[in-house]
Amino acid sequence: MGKTESSIAAKLDRRDFMKFVGGGLVIFFTVESPAEAAQGARPKGFGFGGPGGGAPPDVNAYLRIGEDGKITVFTGKIEQGQGNMTALAQMAADELDVPLESVHMIMGDTDLCPWDMGTFGSMSIRIFGPALRSAAAEARAVLLEMAAEQLKVDKGRLKIEKGVIYSGSDRQSRVTYAQLTKGQKITRKLEQKPAPKPVSQFTLIGQSPVRVDAIEKVTGKARFTGDLRFPGLMYAKVLRPPAHGATLKSADTSEADKYPGATVINQDGLIAVLHEDPEAAEKALDTIKAEFDVPESTLDENNIFEHLVKVAAKPQELERKGDLAAGEKASATLFEAEYLNGYGAHASIETHTAVAKMEGGKLTVWISTQTPFPAQQEIARTLGMQPDKVRVITPYVGGGFGGKSTGLQALEAARLAKITGKPVQVSYNRAEEFFYDSFRPAAIVRIKSGVDANGKMCLWDYHVYYAGSRAAEQFYDVPHNLMRTYGSWMGGGATKAHPFATGAWRAPGANINVFARESQIDIMAARLKVDPLEFRLKNCSDARMRRVLEAAAERFGYKPAVGPSGRGIGIACGIDAESYVAEIAEISVDKGNDIKVRRIVAAQDMGVAVNPTGAIMQMEGCIMMGLGYTLSEDIRFKGGKILTANFDDYSVPKFSNLPEIDAFLVRNDDLPPKGGGEPAIVPVGGAIANALFDAIGVRVFQMPLTPERIARAAKNA
């Protein structure tokens, strides 16, 4: 059995690799999915830069049953609070019939883990998970074969319990995983996917053990990037421009040069002060007199939308069905509206941080990042180093939400470590965090819709600027439908539309798309004097959507009423990362037009839930975080100057904003696990906007739904 090798495994320098991983049984596996492929191909020479070199080039991950019987999963995914470290370990442990504690996760280390594009898009469980389970199933099959040989019994008679293989009911005839893997150096590449266990045989999947990272995190022992300490560690503070697009005219560092203990670096546009005390580094930096040329710009958070539409890229047509002219002709009533949302910050409590250390020509960079491999690539390119000389390690990430997919701080730490030869930390302060954030872009949605004489939707003419198509695919039954996207959240196209960086923000683009669609649906229902739930069900034959809508309504105790009913109840639903969510919000509006969200009921169908409590935690987090983009979060700016600098001018949801959140799963074991980190955030804006209309008969078309906007809309109503 030890001689068994697949053809691909034979190609690797197996000895070197096994020496590196420490022997045992190793299963390599590849994640095959259009979604993963769409993330971009692995560049040559990246990933496995270190002693791991020699693994097959096309694998995404591997798992090892060590000679001690312990299982280690190596994956480029990272843990940023979403709980994938626990759920992935559960999936491997379940398939291998070992206790959860027997599985150890190594994540986001470019020397130890194979290439991975990054952790985003609710893909860890949905896309990566199935491949991991298959690999675990393969490992199990290999172990069973070995055990059959050793125990001299038929494979079919073997039973596995907690990593021990028994010959039928004979408790004496047994062999452990550790005994089987001891002294072995077996590598296998997963070629044919063995069938993983059916739902009925799950032991750990579907359970909600305490998160594997919880104890470290409640004791302060969990190490985030900024917590790493090395002898001689220097804290670097970097000179920042006052605005995006500003260019440095002059810098006088003479005072900083004299600051006790400070090292000033001024190289190729990077001016930084290094000190063994981070506060001293900041103080010394403050003594630098710098002058910048700041480009004039009149753009701000109010006039940006007009500008964005003006410079928009040519539209891309997506989702064409029927013919818009025919749809318009069939319409008894037409509805036109425009929806807006400004820029939003990720505002993770951990700011972007990196520590870089040069040792014997090899640079190791610890980064709070969602994308360790692209970061490795960028660092190597920027520093002119061979990729195998750059190792990126990802400690626990203190919140990402899409914002830690980019990181200037890692390049700066890397450059400074290379220049000085010392270990260097660069950690943004909160103002830098807001300044360099890749904001959720401001976006515009324009919809023209129509209903026929029977109250059935017959036209959907959808235009979305700078948000892209995510969650905008039409699931209501509309015979004449066209979606046009002008640029996407990934960038404004070639026009450099935004005055600063923009990027992915939890469920990128989906929040405005769902806010717009679900508001439009409600507008139509109200005009037709039909209950908004009834209108949705009448126009939607998608079984999964109907189920979550009905489940949410039942749980809420929903009573039909034509809006505005004065009750302050609003519904919205959406599809994201292949999961279906329906939410019902109950709000009140005070005399100052302040919205208080009292209750949100959320029903989600996400296929098999690997860790139901973990999934519900993500839903609750999505809903609470969603209150922010809906009610209060808005970046203020003047051209490239970011006026929002701290939490006093960027109001994220706080304890007093907490509604009663009743998030639950609509069980659907017929489907493999779907996304969980993002779906429940997408209907929040729409549900609350619809509840606002239901409460006071006022519709606000721009998020956040601030008291000023509500007052203005009420005046114009």
Partner: protein, 153 residues
């Protein structure tokens, strides 16, 4: 100005010789190697740097270290008794009140002081008392439940 400051840190008498203007947060995180206390905003706005000084929750990010002279400072590292977790730590883990974990030490220390002052705090008192601790993963509902479960004992 460099000065010698003696105080009690997590139950142990500690003497440091430092510039007394330096902020407690950075002295804890660098000189004393206690990295459980986090930087989040530097302006008393997020609570990630919360420690407990003489039974009161205090933000350490703007507090000159000389202010702790002669006082008793407890950080997240000093809450458990050996392997015995404090009930709040246990409750946070068991109630799923932890996601990314970055705000967690500050949350727990703030809640610890809250319950020292008011061991039977009600839900409303807990919400009011935790108001200025931010959690971006937005685990608020479970954080409240975790604290409630300890307050109810």
């Amino acid at each position: 100005m460099t000065e010698t400051i003696t105080f009690k840190l997590n139950g142990k008498s500690t003497t440091i010789t430092v510039d007394g203007d330096r902020k407690l947060l950075w002295v804890l995180r660098t000189d004393l190697g206690l990295t459980g206390t986090k930087y989040g905003c530097g302006r008393y706005l997020c609570g990630a740097c919360t420690v407990v000084i003489d039974r009161e929750a205090v933000r350490s990010c703007m507090l000159p270290v000389r202010e702790v002279r002669g006082k008793e400072v407890t950080t997240i590292e000093g809450l458990a008794k050996g392997d015995q977790l404090h009930p709040l730590q246990k409750a946070f883990a068991e109630h799923g009140a932890v996601q990314c974990g970055f705000c967690t030490p500050g949350m727990i220390m703030n809640a610890y002081a809250l319950l020292l002052r008011n061991p039977k705090a009600t839900r409303e008192q807990i919400i009011a008392g935790m108001e200025d601790n931010l959690c971006r993963c937005s685990a608020h509902q479970r954080i409240v439940k975790a604290i409630e479960s300890v307050a109810a004992r």
